[in-house]
């Protein structure tokens, strides 16, 4: 599923009133430190939003506040315009998929699925129909009579999904649902989950610490760190235009170099690196000369053939330290501006030269690919 499919839908829902909204939400467990600091977030209906961040960044706490298992210390959480801070979890009508599925081990698959319907006092025949449909939906129609322990991880995952959807909630929360699966299965399930979510038009909040998962599945990604949303944007924007150093570092591979702004104009600035080299960058978090900055450049945007850059482009000296053949790409580690961890990626095309360790080269890039961000 490419970005093209997603964009019209986004544009459409962005204008709607927020379906889920966090307004100035704070959370503290001990009364001394805030786990969630001043969270503001609004989600249109039907959106697939991922909360991404390292552990301890507050993303799971946010999810639990939304589900009702944690109470916000301050601020309001709204669902479909209604404040839900004081509504107990079982009355919120939110479907949830847990990290380890939390399938009830003493019930069969069908009983698991039937459980949310029973507690909603839905009649027996209705229940059976819904359970069957939900099972079919996740391709598990024949497994109704089994116990969870008799199923494989992937199958349990599907049942958990079906159980969260069987009572037709408008909002589904998923707390790292694929964490326990192996890579192949995980990729497959990512695909299934997004498909299902969009097919059924449910609003989904998905928590993960796996950035690939976040990028491939989501309409928008909220990157959490230190109890705050560092950036909330569609995946491509997040990757290509990170707002700050943390996001740049956290999403994808990234090279950083520290320096000072020498000159600045609207869309370009000249940065003097700490070893004296000069390079162009796009100013993002800098406003005036003399400021410290960290420039960020993706490995695949570094150009080794500097003739492709303009006449006056600034370049840097580099020494090849290591060359790694990775099939589709070459990955080369360079020493640049005193740092040994500068990575470049070049496509394995017919005319691409293979660099040798020890070789001295010049590198450069287009100013728009390099972002001058806040100093770390």
């Amino acid at each position: 599923m490419g970005n093209n499919d997603r964009e019209p839908q986004l544009a459409q829902t962005a204008n709607n009133d927020a379906f889920v909204a966090f307004e100035r939400v704070q959370k503290s467990y001990d009364g001394e430190t805030l786990v969630v600091k001043d969270l503001n977030l609004s989600m249109p209906k039907g959106e697939f939003l991922t909360m991404l961040g390292p552990s301890g960044s507050g993303k799971t706490t946010c999810l639990m506040m939304l589900a009702g298992f944690e109470t916000a210390t301050h601020g309001e959480i709204k669902l479909d315009g209604r404040q839900i801070n004081n509504i107990p979890p079982h009355k919120r009508g939110i479907g949830m998929v847990f990290q380890n599925y939390a399938l009830f081990p003493h019930m069969t698959v069908a009983e698991n699925l039937s459980f949310p319907l029973e507690v909603r006092k839905i009649g027996k025949s209705d229940r059976e129909g819904k359970v069957k449909r939900a099972l079919d939906m996740v391709q598990m129609g024949d497994f109704g009579g089994r116990r969870p322990a008799q199923l494989s991880g992937g199958q349990q995952q599907r049942i958990a999904l079906a159980r969260a959807l069987v009572f037709e909630p408008e909002l589904v929360l998923m707390d790292e649902p694929l964490g326990a699966l192996d890579k192949q299965l995980r990729e497959h399930m990512q695909f299934e989950i997004t498909n299902l979510a969009h097919e059924l038009g449910i609003t989904t909040v998905y928590v993960t610490h796996d950035q690939t998962e976040a990028l491939t599945m989501s309409d928008r990604v909220a990157v959490f760190d230190d109890g705050r949303i560092q950036q909330l944007a569609p995946p491509d924007e997040l990757y290509e235009s990170p707002d700050n150093s943390f996001v740049a570092q956290f999403i994808g591979e990234n090279n950083t170099l520290a320096g000072t702004v020498k000159e600045i104009s609207d869309d370009i600035c000249l940065v003097e690196l700490d070893d004296g080299g000069l390079i162009d960058a796009k100013p993002v978090n800098v406003s005036q000369p003399g400021e410290r900055t960290t420039i960020s450049i993706r490995p695949e945007r570094v150009e080794v053939d500097i003739t492709k850059l303009g006449e006056n482009a600034h370049t840097l000296d580099a020494e090849v330290l290591e060359f790694i053949y990775m099939g589709d790409v070459f990955r080369t580690r360079l020493r640049v501006a005193g740092r040994d961890d500068f990575i470049i990626k070049t496509r394995n095309s017919a005319d691409q030269r293979r660099l040798k360790p020890g070789e001295k080269i010049k590198i450069g890039w287009l100013p728009r690919d390099c972002r001058a961000l806040d100093a770390v």
Binding site: A67, G68, F69, P88, P89, H90, K91, R92, G93, I94, G95, M96, F98, Q99, N100, A102, F104, P105, H106, F115, P116, V119, R120, Q139, S152, G153, G154, Q155, R158, R163, A164, F167, L173, D182, Q184, L185, H188, F191, E192, N195, L196
Partner: protein, 572 residues
């Protein structure tokens, strides 16, 4: 969308493919031996090592657990004491039908004389008396008094014998006569028989050198005398550790001689040691009256004339008996068949029922009190849970006796609880509650003592139930109660099962606590078992009661397995 083949399934099919290769013939290991054999060898070494590791425990369990249980089961039916102590009497009683109104005949009493004499020498007669006294009171003293006086039987005849010739009081004379010439053939069979009989009677090997063997000639001539003298010789040499030739024979030997001579032993062809004296004795004793054994026994103790006592002896003559088990279920074996005991002596069935009932009540109160505690333990943060756990385990660190006595102080009428209730004005001073020396006291004290055995298994099961299940249930729309009852509780059932079995089985066999706080209505069957073990010494009955208790537990365990399923028991 279509799921990829599952990984587990893939592995499974791989395994199938590999197993196909076994069809092609014996597979050889690298050194050429068949793979199966070298595998077996490798596994055997592993098994031996494992066995060596558990060997200490295995031996310990065998010695301290299995063997005593087997011994207990054996004791509950074992009854060899009658035939070991009175073998001749039992054999003679075979011919007595025991249904009429006649006492057994003179020959039975004669057999009883020899049996009783030997038993009294070995001090075994009172044990038999105590054993038979369980079935018929008064037998104990019958045996005790008879044992004391049995050597008086045939006094007159012995005196007459000794008057005829003083040699009959001479130990060397006796020894030479019984041994015969050194090169004469010996009756070693008689020696072996008597040795076996004494070994059974005394419950010991009776091995060792006697320094005596009866001659075959005299054995053919005077069978009773030789048997009695041989028994005397064995007893003297082995039990008393004396020299046979230096001890005067027992009265029983002389009585046996009198009987042998009386019954017309043909001495005409005999010319061995003591031939003269024997002939003189035979003719000299001819005018002596025969010994009336029956009258002699009845004179010693009139109960020997009581038909019921003889019926009891005959009834309990077989080496195994159901008597203890019958007794343990308030029945008794009578000459007219199995009957229930008099109503005011029936106690065991009632005690069994009470034990089961109270154990169930104790188990139930342990569940009710323990469940919330175990739940808290499993859900509280580690620090508070540890503190609570210490409180739960605290009773384990106090002696059982101290805890039970503490309950006494708490519950008695002038005790802490009653004092508090009176002070609060809830009961008046005259109406203090009776909470001890009854079932209530036992239930309270035992619930307290056994509570940790309920809490610990429940806790260890509950601590494996992740909180996410309840969260999942609530997110699916269940209220607090529904998510507890439908999701949490069923998963904690194995812990309840394990705790219940533990508490129930422990309480069914408890005896110190009921003894102290149970009064008369709160005691268990185990209190009676303890009484029979240490006080009345009726070990057979104690063993039968214990066996019944053991089987009751096994049956309940089986029933639990059928109803709940033993797989549903987890200790963690």
């Amino acid at each position: 969308m279509r799921g990829p083949p599952d990984h587990k399934e893939q592995k499974h099919t791989d395994g199938d493919k590999m197993s196909d290769t076994t069809d092609t013939g014996p597979v050889l290991a690298a050194d050429g031996t068949p793979l199966k054999r070298s595998l077996r060898r490798a596994i055997r070494a592993q098994k031996l090592r494992a066995l060596a590791l558990i060997a200490p425990l295995l031996i310990f369990v065998l010695v301290t657990f299995i063997a005593p249980i087997a011994d207990m089961l054996f004791r509950s039916v074992e009854n060899q004491i009658v035939s070991n102590t009175l073998p001749n009497t039992v054999a003679a009683l075979d011919d007595w039908d025991g249904t009429g109104d006649d006492l057994p005949g003179q020959d039975t009493f004669e057999a009883l004389y020899y049996d009783m004499f030997l038993a009294a020498e070995s001090k075994r007669h009172t044990r038999l008396g105590s054993r038979l006294n369980y079935e018929e009171s008064g037998i104990s003293s019958m045996f005790r008094t008879s044992g004391r006086k049995v050597d008086d039987i045939g006094e007159d005849q012995i005196d007459a014998l000794e008057d005829i010739d003083a040699s009959w009081e001479d130990e060397t004379f006796w020894f030479n006569m019984m041994s015969g010439a050194d090169d004469a053939p010996k009756a070693s069979g008689i020696l072996a028989d008597q040795r076996e009989r004494l070994a059974k009677l005394n419950q010991s090997g009776f091995d060792g050198e006697v320094g005596f063997a009866p001659s075959q000639e005299i054995a053919d001539l005077l069978p009773r005398t030789v048997r009695a003298y041989t028994a005397f010789a064995l007893f003297t040499a082995i039990a008393d550790e004396d020299v046979v030739a230096e001890e005067e024979p027992w009265e029983a030997v002389k009585v046996a001689l009198v009987e042998d001579l009386h019954s017309g032993a043909d001495l005409s062809g005999y010319d061995g040691a003591g031939a003269e004296e024997l002939r003189a004795a035979q003719s000299g004793l001819a005018d002596q009256p025969a010994i009336d054994y029956k009258q002699a026994f009845i004179d010693m103790n009139e109960d020997w004339g009581n038909l019921d006592n003889w019926k009891t002896i005959k009834m309990f003559a077989p080496p195994f008996t159901a008597g203890y088990f019958l007794n343990a279920v308030d029945l008794q074996k009578t000459p007219d068949g199995v009957q229930s005991r008099p109503e005011n002596e029936q106690i065991y069935i009632m005690l069994f029922q009470r034990t089961l009932f109270m154990s169930l009540v104790i188990m139930g109160s342990c569940i009710l009190l323990g469940y919330p505690v175990a739940y808290l333990l499993a859900t509280l943060p580690a620090r508070s849970a540890n503190l609570l756990m210490i409180l739960v385990l605290l009773p384990f660190w106090t002696s059982l006796l101290v805890r039970t006595s503490a309950w006494k102080v708490m519950l008695q009428q002038q005790g802490v609880i009653n004092d508090t209730l009176v002070w609060l004005g809830l009961v008046n001073d005259a109406g203090r509650l009776v909470m001890i020396n009854n079932q209530f006291g036992t239930i309270v004290a035992m619930t307290h003592i056994l509570l940790p055995f309920m809490i610990l298994p429940m806790y260890s099961v509950m601590s494996t139930i992740p909180q996410t299940y309840v969260r999942a249930a609530r997110s699916l729309g269940a209220t607090n109660w529904t998510s507890f009852w439908r999701v949490y509780f069923p998963q904690s059932v194995p812990g309840i099962g394990a705790g219940s079995i533990l508490v129930f089985i422990l309480s069914i066999g408890y005896y110190i606590t009921p003894e102290i706080v149970g009064g008369t209505t709160g005691t268990f069957i185990s209190n009676r078992i303890a009484y029979h073990i240490s006080s009345s010494l009726n070990w057979g009955l104690a063993a039968a009661l214990g066996s019944i208790l053991l089987f009751a537990v096994l049956i309940l365990y089986w029933a639990y397995d059928k109803i709940v399923g033993i797989d549903n028991v987890k200790l963690g």
